[in-house]
Amino acid sequence: MDEALSPTMDMIISLWPRFLDATLLTLAIFVIVSVMSTTIGLLAALATIGAGRWLSMVLAAYGWVFRGVPELVILLFCYLALPQLGLDLGPVGAAVLGFTLISTAYEIEIFKAGLAGVHRGQFEAARALGIPLPSALRRIVLPQVVRIVATPWITYATGSIKRISIASAVAVTEIMQVTKQAIAFSHQPFTLILFASALYATMASILMIAEIIAARRFKQRFGLSTELP
């Protein structure tokens, strides 16, 4: 038992610094992509409130491309094709750009649904009270949007973390890339893939727990379910 386990443990321990770096890189990409795509997605969704049909059409076309084309294809485009156009971002830069483009398409849909879920009467009440639109959005509409989108946003974010494994295809040394490299010289795919799975599952679990806590807080504080009405 000891003899069977210890070489495996030794391997994990010796690879641990690399896995730690890879995990931190995965998290960094996730945070940057989430912050950027959430911000842009929210602003784009807000812009559709008063905007004409052309903006909706532009956003629809954008969503059609970046939700329709496989993530791998978009990452390869950012990594291999953009340098041909003079934009060489390197592997991590290409992955961040690609994932941001993809995630933004989804975040726009999430926030559009969130805004649609706020009762029309809320806007009307704010207008009737003479509250300017920016204040109304910040104080009245957005807190309600946050409640509505909490579940879909975290569901998508959980997927986002896992999707970063695709970046291994464009030479980003995230978890999957390190795992593949380790398999190549140690011939321990079973243990290594199990270990990589555990890392992904841990990160996703943290997000899922965050969702449960958020849902409970909304319920305690406002008696409001995070379920869509």
Binding site: G121, A125, A128, G130, I131, L133, P143, Q144, F222, G223
Partner: protein, 268 residues
């Protein structure tokens, strides 16, 4: 008095600014027209509410009552017609941002309460005065507590809307509108969503408000309230005011077939 189908209102001749104090016209709408696509929702609706009066608007659903009320505070922009507040003409073509000042002179209470669900009753009331009038929090809270007293809900100040009954929510909504110190209050079927036993408390609050001299325009199906409180009743049908007059004459002696049919329908 009746047959006010002429788009020019009966009050048209007395210039809003010339009115003497006791019968000062607080809010006046002249020949308001609203179309949605090819549908004409309002076809020249006029109204003049004198200071302290209660104007009731009755009519079947789809007759344009709510749309007209929303045109008065410009939540909906009329396609034609004029608005006056206390003798001053309101430019209805101005940008939304420029209309906000006018709009907070006119309080509005909705059928569906529209309280902000993530804020307590007190927060609901202090929000707009703090944002719009830049009132300090302490001052806003003090005034809000006074208004909660007025609607008999001081003890519910910290409750969230979901913890309040429909009648309580509606009374908080009335207090919220009053917090802006409006000169006119609009009520859009404010008891229609309430159980019969809860309607009474809201109507009592509205009675108090009328007794205090608030100028009110009330869209309502509560005929006993209309009869007791309204100074003038307007009957709308098909986007026009078909009849107008004192409550008793409108409800007891309808002239037009539309009003006769409406009265017959609501009385049983």
């Amino acid at each position: 008095m009746s047959q006010g189908a002429d788009p020019r209102s009966p009050a048209h001749e007395d210039s809003p600014s010339a009115g003497a104090m006791p019968t000062r016209v607080m809010v006046e709408a002249r020949a308001i027209v609203k179309r949605f696509g090819s549908n004409t929702i309002l076809d020249g609706v006029s109204l003049a509410a004198t200071s302290g009066s209660v104007t009731a608007i009755i009519g079947a659903s789809g007759s344009g009552k709510s749309t007209f009320l929303r045109c008065v505070n410009l939540l909906i922009r009329p396609d034609a017609g004029e608005l006056f507040l206390d003798g001053q003409r309101i430019d209805t073509d101005r940008r939304e941002r420029d209309l906000l000042r006018y709009r907070c002179e006119i309080g509005m209470v909705f059928q569906s309460y529209n309280l902000f669900p993530h804020m307590s009753a007190l927060q609901n009331i202090i929000e707009a005065p703090m944002i719009v009038h830049r009132v300090s929090r302490a001052e806003a809270v003090e005034r809000a507590m006074g208004l909660l007293d007025k609607v008999r809900l001081r003890h519910r100040a910290e409750a969230y809307p979901h913890q309040l009954s429909g009648g309580e929510q509606q009374r908080v909504a009335i207090a919220r509108a009053l917090a802006m110190r409006p000169r006119v209050m609009l009520f859009d079927e404010v008891t229609s969503a309430l159980d019969p036993e809860l309607k009474g408390e809201v109507l009592a609050t509205m009675r108090d408000l009328a007794a205090d001299g608030m100028t009110m325009i009330v869209v309502s199906h509560e005929m006993s309230f209309v009869r007791q409180v309204a100074s003038e009743v307007l009957f709308m049908s098909g986007g026009r005011i078909i009849e107008r007059g004192a409550p008793d004459s409108i409800l007891d002696r309808p002239q037009s077939p539309e009003l006769s049919a409406f009265v017959a329908r609501i009385m049983d």
